[in-house]
C-alpha cells in the first residue's frame, strides 16, 4: 500500500470509526512488522555476516593452500568451505532485495558444475568468471569439484593455474558477498516496514521465496538425482556436492534453516522470535502450525537416519530415499497452499488488476 492510499484510508476510517471502541480479541497478538524486523535483524543479516566471515576464513585458507599446497592446507580449506556451504543454506532462502538484485543465489550455489568448463578455464588460464558461459563453473559447488576430485591435491600442487582459479572463485564470492552485505545495510529499514499485501511487499517476497527455496531444495537436492524428473532413472551426476559427499549434510542444514526461519528463531543463538508460527497461531491455525513444524522435524530426523552418502543411499536403499522424497513432497502443500492462503499472500508474482 502506498502513502497516498494510507492517508486516504486513515482519513476515511477515522471519520467512520472515531466513536467506535476497539474490541479485545482473545488470540495472541501478532505484528507483521515485528516478524520482518526479527527476520532481518536476527536471521538474514547475521547469516550474511557469518557467510562473509566464513568466506574470509576460506580466503585465508586458500591463500595458504596456493602458497604451501600441503595436504593439511587442503584439509583446512575443505573445512572452511564446508562451513561456508552450511551457512549458505540459510542465506539462499532470501532471494529478494540485494540478493536478487545481484543474482547472488545463482552465482554462489548453482550445481551441478560443468567440469569441462572448469578444466577448460584452468587449462587456458584466461577466463572471465562473471560471464554466462561460466555460470556452471563458479561458486561453492565448483570448489566441491576442485577440492575433492580424484587427484585434487596433485593438481593444486602441480598446476599454478588451478590454485589461481580456486583463488579467483573465492575472491569473486568474497566481493559479491560484500556487495550484498552492504546492500542489506540500507535495505533492512525498507524491508522491516514493508508489511503491505502487494506482491512486491517485503512480507510477500519473503513468503514466496521461502516457498521457492523449499521447493528447490526438494527438487534439486533430492528429486532430480533420484530420477523424479527422468522416469525414475537415477541421475547421480546431479547430486549436490557429489565429490565431497556432503549432500545429506547440506540437505539437513537446509531443512534446519527453513525450520528456524519458519519459527523465527535466531540464526546465532536459536532463541525464539516472531515467525510464521506466531502468525498461524494468531490466526487460530495451531494444527497447521503443528503439522508444518512437525514435518520439518520429521524430515530432519529421516535425513539423520542415513549413515552413508546420498549417492550410496540411492544405490543401496532406494526405498528409503523415496520415502524421504515423499516427506519432502507432502510438506509443500502445507507451506505453499495452506500457510500462504491463511496469510492472504498473493502467490502470483505479477501485479494485476485482480477481481
Amino acid at each position: 500500500m502506498n502513502w497516498s492510499k494510507l492517508i486516504w484510508i486513515t482519513a476515511l476510517l477515522g471519520v467512520a470509526l472515531s466513536s467506535c471502541k476497539k474490541d479485545d480479541d482473545d488470540t495472541e497478538d501478532f505484528d507483521k512488522a515485528a516478524l520482518l524486523s526479527n527476520l532481518s535483524g536476527n536471521i538474514i543479516v547475521p547469516s550474511l555476516n557469518q557467510f562473509e566471515s566464513d568466506l574470509n576464513v576460506l580466503s585465508t585458507a586458500v591463500a595458504d593452500l596456493s602458497q604451501n599446497s600441503s595436504a593439511q592446507d587442503l584439509e583446512t580449506a575443505r573445512d572452511a568451505w564446508k562451513n561456508a556451504y552450511l551457512t549458505w543454506q540459510t542465506v539462499k532462502i532470501f532471494d529478494f532485495g540485494p540478493i536478487r538484485d545481484n543474482a547472488f543465489k545463482s552465482a554462489t550455489g548453482t550445481y551441478p558444475v560443468d567440469t569441462t568448463d572448469i578444466n577448460g578455464n584452468i587449462a587456458s588460464g584466461s577466463y572471465t568468471l562473471g560471464t554466462a558461459a561460466n555460470a556452471d563453473a563458479i561458486g561453492l559447488p565448483s570448489l566441491d569439484y576442485l577440492f575433492y576430485r580424484a587427484g585434487a591435491l596433485d593438481s593444486i600442487q602441480s598446476n599454478p593455474n588451478c590454485s589461481a582459479y580456486i583463488t579467483d572463485v573465492v575472491n569473486k564470492m568474497v566481493n559479491e558477498t560484500n556487495v550484498v552485505v552492504n546492500g542489506w545495510s540500507t535495505y533492512q529499514a525498507t524491508f522491516n516496514t514493508s508489511t503491505g499485501t502487494s506482491s512486491t511487499s517485503g512480507f510477500s517476497l519473503f513468503i514466496n521465496e521461502f516457498n521457492r527455496d523449499y521447493e528447490l531444495a526438494k527438487n534439486a537436492k533430492v528429486g532430480i538425482p533420484l530420477g523424479k524428473q527422468s522416469l525414475d532413472i537415477q541421475m547421480p551426476e546431479f547430486i549436490e556436492a557429489r565429490y565431497s559427499g556432503i549432500s545429506f549434510d547440506l540437505l539437513r542444514e537446509s531443512m534446519v534453516a527453513l525450520q528456524k526461519v519458519y519459527n523465527g528463531n535466531s540464526f546465532s543463538t536459536g532463541a525464539a522470535g516472531v515467525g510464521c508460527d506466531d502468525y498461524l497461531l494468531h490466526l487460530e491455525r495451531s494444527s497447521l502450525n503443528n503439522t508444518i513444524d512437525g514435518n520439518f522435524s520429521q524430515i530432519i530426523s529421516t535425513v539423520d537416519g542415513f549413515s552413508t552418502t546420498f549417492e550410496n543411499a540411492m544405490q543401496e536403499d532406494v526405498q528409503a530415499c523415496n520415502d524421504l522424497y515423499l516427506q519432502l513432497q507432502q510438506q509443500v502443500v502445507n507451506i505453499k497452499t495452506d500457510m500462504t492462503s491463511a496469510f492472504g499472500v498473493l502467490i502470483t508474482y505479477q501485479d494485476n488488476d485482480g477481481d
Partner: protein, 465 residues
Amino acid sequence: MVTSHNKNGISKALFKSVNIAPLIIFRIIFGALLLYGSIRFVAKGWVNSLYIEPDHYFGYLGFEWIKPLSGEWMYLPFVLMIVAALFILVGFKYRVAAITYFLAFTYVELLDKSNYLNHYYFVSLMSFLMIWVPANRQFSIDAYLRPSIRWKRSPAWTINILKFQLAVVYVFAGIAKLNSDWLFEALPLKIWLQAHHNVPLFGSLLEAEWVAYFFSWFGCIYDLFIVFFLLSKRTRPIAYVAVIVFHFVTWLLFPIGVFPWVMIFSTLIFFSANFHEKILHILRSFFSSFSARPPFNPSVLRYSSFSRKMITFLIGTYVFIQIVVPFRYVLYPGNLFWNEEGFRFSWRVMLMHKEGYATFYVEDRSTGRMSEIQNLDYLTETQEDQMATQPDMILQFADIIHDKYKGKTVTYQGQSFTFEDPAVRAEIYVSLNGRPSQLFVSKEHDLTALKYDLRHRNWIEPFKD
C-alpha cells in the same frame, strides 16, 4: 405472459423519447476510461508479460482458434484500442471506433483465460453495446462535421440498456454473495482484511472479526440494492455517495486496478437528464466552436413498426442471455466454488480465495514410468497460479504436456524411452477460503483421456466441508 399493459410498459421503456444528454456524457466518460485503461495496460508492461512472453495460452472453449499475433505485433491491438478509445472520447468516426475497440479488446480477452476478470468481461459487453447507441449525436467531432446527425433526444432503450448492464453487474454480484462462507464466516474477507493489520491506526480494526462481517454484509446489501437507490430520484444523492465510498474503499484495500473508477464514473448515467445537460453546458463553454447549434434532427423517433419489433426482439434476447448465463451453474451438481462449473461470466467478483498446488506427471505407457513436470517450464507464474485451481485449465495444461511429449524420445543414463502416446496425470491439492487443503484431482486419472467440454467433470474430488 405478456399482458398488453406490460407490452406498453416495455414499448415505453424502449421507445419513449428522452433527452440524449446522459448518453453523450457517458460516451465521453467511457471513452476516457477506456483510453486510460488501455494506456495503463501497455505502460505496466502487461502486453509483454501476458501476451508475448508466455509459450502457451489457455483459450476459451470454442474459441481456441483465437491465437496471439507473433511477438511485438501483439502491441497492434493495443494501439488500435488506444486510438479507438480516443476517437470514442471525442466522437470521431464513432461507430467504426466503437466496433474497433470492441473487436480489439475482445480479441485480447479471448486469448487466455488465465487473465479473465469480470471487469474485462464488463468492458467487452459495454463496448459492444456502445456500437449500437447514437452516442456521437452531440458534442462530438462527427456532429460538428455533419450537423445533420445531431439529435437532441433519443429513444429510451439507448440509455436504458446501459443502465441495465450496470444493474446486472451489481445485482448478480450481490446474489453471488448470498452464500454461507460470505455471510456466516465472513470469508474470504476475513483473510484479506487481516493481512492489512499493519495499517497505522486502523490495522487492529481491519483484523477485527466484526469488521470482516460488517464489510461482507454491507458489500452484499450494497450490491443487491444500490441500483434501485440510484434509480430513485429521492435516494440518488446518498446512493451515489455510497457508490463513491464503497468503490474507494475496495480500491484502497484490494489490487483491483481501474475497476473502482469504472464503476464510480459509469454509475453517473443514473443521474437525471438535467444533471447531464448541466455538464454538457459546462463542457460547451470550454469548446465554444461546438456550441453552434443548428436544429436537431427530429427524425429520431420515427421507427417503423418492423424496426421496433426487431429492436425489441434483439434487446429481449440480450437481456435474456444476461440474466440466464449467471444462473447456468444450477445445471451442475456439486460445490460451485470448488468445481467452478459455470463460474465465469457471472459477476462473481472478489468472492473466494483459492490456492492450489499441482504436480503433473507424464507417463510412458509402455513401461509405466513417470516423470514429474515442472509447470513453470511451460507456464508463467500467473498461468500456473490460475491453472492449479481451475479444472478446465487443468485439462488444457495436460493437453499441452501431452503434445510436448508425444513422439518424443528421452535418454537417461544411456536408456532411451519414446513416448508413443503419453498419459498425463496430476495430483492437486486446493485450499478454499483458507480451509485446510484437500485433494482436488487424484493421480489415478489419465487426464488425456478426458474431454474438455461443458459436461460435469466427475473426476474432480468432491469438496468436503
